[in-house]
């Protein structure tokens, strides 16, 4: 049964428990690590964590296996001429990288150096700070983030409406009467841009209280199974939201007083909605007009309501407009900043304010060199990378540092990205595995995992439904010869003569030999922030030291604060600024867009998150790939019959941009007819053997990075609602065998 804790240990050191948090997904669940002799005996959910309240999932609880994975890279690796890797010392790797970067900088300038951050950086404050710091110090415009694959529109809307990329309202599900959930599947994903502990249970609380939850999704997802489900055509979200708003304003259901009180520029709403036709929206969304009307009326009539939307609506061609309309729906129904509505959280380190002070937030302060995309939060979109590499001229991208990311699989048009990466003068990957991306790198610099480094949930603390504070030291010693990402970046920075920091005077301090650590900087931010101890002036306040000495998270409040809008706004007038030309342009673009399906590519493909997967991560862990783990294409029975697909058939999917072969079809009426769902992040190569053995195909071989296919205001990739055709490979396979 359960392995006794004292099993076969001769040492006298008893097992100890340490309360930490999970760094796998945006749930950031509290965990209890049982440690003995620097070995992780087990991970369990932390019952006392104010937000996750004893919940954790199989991904986080299996993370010890990532730390201890035999496929993990434990020493710096250098690629040799024949493509294989040899282990080298940190000194050698870093010195050589420094030399090569200096050579590139000498010829092409600092602006030719690129940085790419993956989602894992969201739980790695050192890497987060040094990444933005390096980009700032290099004055490079080649700062890329995986966020531009799935969420750039959020940053943009937040900047324009609330004055900061990082100030994002979250749904107050714990107190709402009506939750509209668009394109999100929290029962599986556990939430994004909403750090709601026990997300599923919190949603079930809505209906248990007599409220309603309506899930909008082309697929009857695991979340939709639990609540009311309204199927929508992929990328129909902007249409649905526009139509709902149209109904609300036409029928006088809007909270005009709230608009007057909380916003400026609300006149734009009437302008935007004037040309919207319910019939057209209904066609585009695949939802009958009457149902849209009823949904709008019910949402507006609810004592409190929140509309929450995530991937399904933020990775399409109108992601920014969708997010804007989502916020407008919440605001126009009086739900902004009120209980049960659309609220601002209470981070224990006010990252929003810090980034604002550092002038690190913004939109369209500059445009990208080749595609002319507006910058978003100082980053350029991932879709542009191949063209930035292959297009000559000043500012051409010549070297790239990829931190905790696997863009060779996760980026749109992944094949093109791989080809472009081959043309770089230098590719550096900070990764714990030899992945599709890192195997192309000149150097693989292995970092610590979140079990092996100091951390606090820098990103998700800003979206927490139950405000809390937690800061933990390393749980385990670093394995092998791995180092913190932040250290690696700082060492590279040293060798090219910069300090990876963007605050005024940082470079000067660097010349004096002072390099304030990310932990120091964050501690200053904490101590001088709203929850801080003001260096002793407020003894009850928080500091890094105090939190590190505290076992577990400290609860700051029972729920989301309300009535704090003016305090939180970074806009000049302290109101929500609704009127921006970009939204007018986008509405015009939406209304002119065609939503008819191309007859050569009659089906619409969406990506799917699965319970034991996290994008491209965690696919090398036995517990997460055991038990019939096969990449399966979900297809409605009607479409299966029409296109000759039988259950279990291998299927070829073709888009205008590529073709893949998916191992199996799964026929299920969970799909809306006409749409297909495929788990993304599969089709691995490299040194993570189990991940490779699971097989599957890369979703992003079907997607495009064309600039005109992206969400134009944000440059976010369009990776949802891909037009495809399919055929069964049953007979092909049979003939081959």
């Amino acid at each position: 049964m359960i392995t006794p804790i004292m099993n076969n240990t001769k040492s006298s050191s008893p097992p100890t428990d340490k309360k930490i948090f999970c760094g796998v997904c945006e749930s950031s669940c509290g965990l209890v690590a049982t440690i003995q002799n620097d070995e992780l005996i087990k991970l369990r959910p932390d019952p006392d964590h104010p937000n996750s309240k004893g919940f954790a999932c199989s991904k986080g609880l299996a993370f010890g296996a990532v730390r201890d994975d035999s496929d993990r890279v434990l020493r710096p690796l250098k690629r040799t001429d024949d493509g294989s890797f040899v282990a080298v010392s940190w000194e050698q790797a870093l010195d050589e990288i420094g030399e090569r970067l200096n050579a590139i900088i000498k010829v092409h300038g600092r602006e030719s150096i690129g940085l790419y951050q993956g989602n894992s950086v969201a739980w790695n404050f050192g890497a987060f700070l040094n990444l933005f710091g390096m980009a700032g110090a290099l004055k490079t415009k080649h700062l890329y983030s995986a966020a531009s694959i799935d969420i750039n529109g959020y940053w943009l809307v937040s900047q324009l409406l609330y004055g900061s990329n990082f100030l994002n309202p979250v749904p107050d599900i714990a107190r709402t009467d009506f939750m509209l959930c668009i394109g999100a599947n929290p029962a599986v994903s556990h939430g994004s841009m909403a750090n709601i502990g026990r997300f599923r249970d919190t949603m079930l609380g809505v209906t248990a209280r007599g409220g309603r939850v309506v899930v909008i999704d082309p697929r009857r997802s695991e979340t939709a199974e639990l609540f009311e489900h309204l199927p929508i055509r992929p990328n129909g979200d902007a249409w649905l939201l526009a139509a709902m708003l149209k109904v609300i304003f036409d029928e006088g259901l809007a909270d005009l007083a709230a608009l007057q009180r909380q916003t400026s520029g609300s006149g734009i709403i009437a302008d935007l909605l004037a040309p919207v036709s319910l019939a057209q929206a209904s066609d585009a969304a695949g939802i009958p007009v009457a149902e849209i009307q009823q949904l709008a009326r019910d949402f507006a009539a609810a004592p409190s309501a929140c509309a929450y939307g995530r991937c399904g609506m933020s990775i399409g061609p109108f992601a920014t407009l969708s997010k804007y309309l989502l916020d407008v729906l919440n605001i126009a129904t009086g739900n902004l900043d009120r209980e049960g509505g659309w609220c601002f959280a209470r981070p224990f380190i006010d990252l929003e304010a810090l980034m604002h002070q550092l002038k690190s937030t913004g939109y369209d302060r500059w445009r990208t060199r080749v595609d002319g995309f507006p910058e978003v939060a100082g980053t350029a979109p991932v879709v542009s990378i191949p063209r930035e590499i292959t297009t000559p001229g000043k500012g051409q991208l010549r070297a790239m540092m990829v931190i905790g990311a696997n863009p060779a699989t996760s980026s749109p048009a992944a094949g093109e990205l791989r080809d472009a990466f081959k043309q770089l003068d230098l590719l550096i990957s900070q990764d714990i595995y030899i992945t599709e991306t890192s195997r192309m790198a000149d150097y693989i610099l292995p970092p610590t995992t979140w079990l092996e480094r100091e951390g606090f949930p820098i990103f998700t603390q800003s979206h927490s439904g139950v405000p809390h504070a937690q800061w933990v030291g390393p749980t385990l010693k670093a394995r092998g010869d791995v180092r913190d990402d932040a250290w690696i970046m700082d060492e590279i920075s040293k060798r090219i003569g910069i300090v990876p920091a963007d605050f005024p005077g940082a470079q000067l301090l660097g010349k004096l030999g002072l390099r304030p650590s990310p932990a120091f900087l964050m501690d200053v931010g904490l101590r001088t922030g709203p929850e801080g101890d003001w260096f002793g002036l407020r003894p009850s306040g928080l500091s890094r030291k105090k939190l590190l000495g505290n076992d577990g998270a400290i609860k700051l409040a029972d729920g989301l604060p309300t009535g704090i809008l003016k305090k939180r706004m970074f806009t000049k007038d302290k109101k929500v600024n609704l009127d921006h030309g970009v939204f007018r342009t986008e509405m015009t673009r939406l209304l002119a867009s065609s939503f008819a399906q191309d007859e050569n590519y009659p089906l619409s493909l969406i990506s799917q998150r699965e319970l034991r997967s996290q994008n491209t991560w965690l696919h090398n862990i036995s517990k997460l790939v055991v038990a019939d783990r096969v990449q399966r294409l979900r297809i409605h029975p009607r479409d299966a019959a029409r296109y000759g697909i039988e259950e279990g058939d291998p299927v070829e999917i073709s888009s205008p941009y590529g073709q893949i072969r998916v191992p199996e079809a799964r026929i299920s009426d969970e799909m809306m007819p006409g749409s297909l769902a495929l788990p993304h992040g599969w089709g691995h190569e490299g040194g993570w053997q189990r991940a490779v053995a699971v097989g599957g195909a890369g979703y992003n071989q079907l997607t495009t990075n064309r600039a005109d296919s992206a969400d134009l205001p944000s440059g976010n990739a369009t990776v949802n609602g891909i037009s495809v055709r399919i055929r069964s490979l049953r007979d092909v396979v049979e003939m081959a065998s």
Partner: protein, 96 residues
């Protein structure tokens, strides 16, 4: 809450393979496995992660709050299996 194994269980133990907290019993190498008529989830140890429900090939596993009415008795049946297994109860690491 907890997850609950119900009548269709055939003891295929895919759930055991994916369970992150080893709360499903009997495991294949436990003495009671060969004679087991179904497997059971220890409600004290279950962390509601949903992995077993997804992995179950015969749809025998439900979150307690989604349990079909005709199988409500399986809450008690699952719990009862562990009442003599004090060593697992001693493993309690979260409140219920």
């Amino acid at each position: 809450m907890s997850y609950v194994i119900t009548a269709p269980c055939v003891a295929d133990y895919s759930c055991v393979e994916v369970c992150p907290v080893d709360c499903i019993s009997p495991m294949p190498d436990d003495s009671g496995f060969d004679a087991a008529t179904q497997l059971y989830i220890n409600p004290v140890l279950c962390v509601d992660c949903d992995a077993c429900r997804e992995a179950c090939p015969v749809n025998a596993i439900f979150a307690e709050d989604q349990l079909p009415e005709k199988w409500l008795d399986y809450i008690g049946i699952n719990a009862a299996h562990f009442q003599s297994h004090t060593q697992t109860v001693a493993e309690v690491r979260h409140d219920k």
